[in-house]
């Protein structure tokens, strides 16, 4: 224990002998660690927004469908069980959020224009926290209940259709017999979304109204349940599986939107790669610093060895010196990262590339996400790899021959 204290003290003093070199190395480590964490937080923030948006556009972490529905999202592929019966089971199961709805392709037509859309027949009270629509931010009003006779469409769609709140539009879809089901609706509200494609694609109507229009009685195309974290949907998934029979399939969100699922996995991998790449770039400087420090001290290391210090202590001393350097650099880097991310928490506006971000599936405001796991990962990777990087110079120093080292002239 005592030797460790001595070694620690020696290492600490040695570290500051060439303060310039130590400062430069500290600056490099700090910048590297800052970049590791900062970039990771931005990336995680982007992925987080993408997944959140993606999940809220689906929406639902775990979804129940007819086995054919995913391939053929048609009104014929209804969930065989009656909606009221299944909904009662879901209501009793105690999910954070759940809903049942009809989701079918349709055509919406105003006096002058037609567009293909996705028609959602919903119970507005169930969906409040499920969808990407902010009920408070509606021109006009949102649907009031599942029997509401109006429709709510996106602002962008209203603009292209040349329609507005209070005007009528026609919705066409098919019923299970493939007869065209069409009906005039009054637009009661316009919603906004953070991505234009959402405003163009989705049309909300009351579930019962749509059930009647499409003549499907007490049936829906999907039931969804939501947990509190999109990264942890297994508990919800298992609960849902228990509630249904095998006339339906149950999917997690990342199975339904494989792009998002992949994105999440790829980005987790990216974080590790990024951290390692930065470390490797740093490692050259770290080894360089240690090598210089060792070679400047050839004589005194020889002297210590001659005085009877064990080679292992020399080894330990150099490694401790390197670890001290890393720990201080990590501390500064972490503080810098936290300090530079904090002011960005209200979001970074990247709307100059909004359409490009939309192509990737992301909105134009980026909220950096500083995750404890990522910070720990960065710190641990640096310390472990740093340890291995210092082994070689430390080993070399401990192998000096005392006499040679003392008598050495540069």
């Amino acid at each position: 224990m005592n030797t460790l204290r001595v070694l620690l003290m020696l290492a600490w003093r040695n570290l500051w002998r060439n303060h310039r070199r130590t400062f430069i190395m500290l600056a490099a480590i700090s910048v590297g660690v800052w970049a590791m964490i900062f970039m990771t937080a931005l990336t995680q923030g982007m992925v987080n927004e993408m997944v959140k948006d993606g999940v809220s556009a689906l929406p639902g972490h775990v979804q129940v469908h007819h086995p054919n529905y995913r391939d053929d999202p048609n009104i014929n592929n209804l969930i065989p069980m009656a909606d009221t019966e299944l909904s009662a089971k879901f209501a009793a199961a105690g999910f954070e959020q759940w809903a049942s709805r009809i989701k079918v392709p349709a055509v919406i037509t105003s006096e002058r224009e037609s567009r293909g859309v996705t028609l959602l027949g919903i119970d507005p009270n169930r969906e409040r926290d499920l969808t990407f629509v902010d009920y408070e931010d509606i021109d006009g009003r949102f649907l009031e209940d599942e029997a509401d006779k109006g429709v709510v469409i996106g602002r962008k769609l209203a603009e292209t259709l040349d329609t507005d709140v209070g005007k009528r539009i026609v919705i066409m879809s098919q019923d299970p017999k493939n007869d065209i089901a069409d009906r005039g609706f009054r637009v009661v509200g316009l919603f906004g979304a953070n991505m234009q494609s959402l405003e163009e694609t989705y049309v909300f109507a009351g579930k019962q109204t749509i059930q009647k229009l499409l003549s499907v009685g007490d049936h829906v195309t999907e039931l969804v349940a939501m947990g509190d974290d999109y990264r942890n949907v297994e508990p919800v998934y298992e609960k849902v599986v228990k509630l249904v029979d095998d006339s339906v399939v149950v999917n997690r969100w990342f199975e339904l939107d494989s792009y998002l699922g992949t994105m999440l996995r790829v980005m987790d991998g990216f974080v590790l790669i990024w951290v390692v790449v930065i470390f490797l770039a740093l490692s050259f400087g770290l080894v360089n610093t240690l090598v210089m420090a060792v070679f400047e001290r050839v004589r005194e290391i020889g002297l210590m060895l001659a005085l009877g210090m064990k080679p292992s202590s020399i080894l330990g001393q150099i490694i401790i010196e390197s670890m001290l350097l890393l720990v201080i650099g990590l501390a500064i880097g972490n503080v810098l990262a936290v300090a530079s991310i904090a002011p960005l928490n209200s979001g970074i506006d990247i709307s100059i590339v909004a359409e490009g971000m939309e192509m990737m599936g992301s909105a134009s405001v980026l909220y950096p996400q500083l995750r404890m796991e990522d910070v720990i990962l960065a710190n641990v990777v640096v310390l472990i790899l740093g340890f291995f990087a210092s082994l070689s110079p430390a080993w070399r120093a401990s192998r000096f021959q005392p006499i040679e080292a003392i008598t050495r002239v540069d």
């Binding site: 430069i24 349709a106 055509v107 066409m172 360089n288 490009g356």
Partner: protein
């Protein structure tokens, strides 16, 4: 060889390990940069080509405002005549007229809302690759036939095959009811989910009759030999348009704004990362060169006493940095291009990237190619950062007094 060059060269090898570690940091970054940039730049041009060749083309002549809302009535009058005259005037046949509507398409069993495009069958084949992607049946041929080509997913969803009939229901340009029965003659499989699921093409003549277009259409696609020639062609094209016609030409960036922006967003985040790497290399160089200057204080004092001015010594330090920098740049660029070269044969695939690739119209496996730009840009950046890092150690010499310097051990 010049003594100064010789001196600089020998100086960097006084501490070979230190020089190699410094150059090593450069090599590491450069290998990474050359490979990544070759990969990215190749990917971008594929993204652009693949996205444009299906429908968008290099530029389009449209009515003003159509680009934003694509309203049915924002038409180009006599679109067939316009495309014919443009073909003649520009002596090019990669020019084709189109019209577009959103309709409900019904088969016996299914109905879906789709986008339907009226095309000039003969010329459409020259501006779009969809005709070449017909995997079943054939592409459109006659301008008035009641025929339709649909995307593969759409065909599956509608449960139709070659020879089946589809009913299309929508509104004409004047808002009146429009309907037609057409026969499926071809199914295309572009691999782009959005197109395969929602797109169908019919002859422009048929479109004209069904939607009461009276000769009007929605745009004329104009392609240059490659995307690089597009701006020049656009200028030529704009000059040709009749003054009174009230038409605009939009380039692909305006037509698909997401594309360039996605590239920009990707580029800026990558360049942040590359910048960080370059800065870390710069710190390495700063450390090495500062140490090397400090070690040589006594020696510098002697040569200053001999009458060498500090500026000259500064230049010597910069020269040494240039040498280490060139070492790192050349070895890095070489290894980087060997790595890229290897992947240009074997292809490169990030595990699980297929879905992301599809999102951006890319094949799952990419074959990065080394270009002059991807070879030089990264090592160039690292080199410049290294030189900047050496400025401080070099400038320090300005404040060096020969007497003090010589007193240093």
């Amino acid at each position: 060889m010049n003594i100064i060059l010789r001196l600089a060269w020998r100086n960097i090898w006084r501490q070979p390990r230190r020089t190699w570690l410094t150059a090593g940091a450069m090599v590491f970054s450069n290998v990474l940069l050359v490979f990544m940039m070759s990969f990215q730049f190749g990917m971008y041009s594929l993204m652009i080509d693949n996205s444009l060749q299906a429908l968008t083309g290099h530029m389009q002549v449209q009515a003003p405002g159509y680009v934003d809302d694509q309203r049915m009535r924002q038409t180009v009058a006599d679109v067939g005549d316009l495309s014919r005259s443009l073909r003649e005037q520009l002596a090019s046949d990669t020019i084709a007229a189109r019209a577009q509507a959103f309709v409900l398409a019904s088969s016996d069993e299914r109905s879906y809302g789709i986008a339907i495009i009226g095309v000039e069958p003969h010329f459409e084949q020259k501006v779009s690759n969809i005709s070449g992607l017909v995997s079943k049946g054939r592409f459109l041929s006659e301008n008035d036939a009641a025929e339709i080509v649909v995307g593969a997913v759409l065909a599956r969803n509608l449960r139709v095959n070659i020879g089946d009939e589809l009913t299309i229901l929508g509104s004409g340009v004047d808002g009146s009811f429009a309907a037609a029965v057409v026969t499926v003659i071809g199914i295309f499989d572009s691999g782009v989910p959005d197109l395969d699921r929602t797109l169908a093409e019919i002859p422009l003549g048929l479109f004209n009759d069904v939607f009461y277009m009276e000769g009007a259409g929605h745009h004329v696609v104009v392609n240059a030999p490659t995307v690089d020639f597009a701006p020049a062609l656009q200028a030529e094209l704009e000059a040709l348009l009749p003054e009174d016609a009230d038409l605009v030409v939009h380039d692909w960036d305006r037509l698909l704004p997401g594309l360039k922006q996605a590239i920009q967003a990707d580029l800026s985040s990558s360049f942040f990362m590359y910048g960080v790497l370059a800065i870390l290399v710069a710190f390495s160089v700063l450390n090495t060169q500062l140490m090397s200057v400090l070690e040589r204080t006594h020696e510098f004092g002697i040569v200053m006493a001999l009458g060498l001015k500090p500026g000259r010594l500064g230049r010597l330090v910069m020269l040494e940095t240039v040498m280490i920098g060139l070492l790192g740049a050349v070895i890095g660029a070489l290894l980087g291009s060997i790595l890229t070269w290897y992947f240009s044969f074997s292809g490169f695939q990030i595990p699980g990237m297929e879905e992301m690739a599809i999102q951006f119209n890319l094949p799952a496996r990419l074959y990065p190619q080394v270009t002059a730009l991807s070879l030089l840009l990264g090592p160039g950046i690292v080199f410049v950062f290294s030189l900047l890092a050496a400025v401080y150690p070099a400038l320090r010499l300005r404040w060096l007094q020969p007497v003090d310097a010589m007193r240093a051990a």
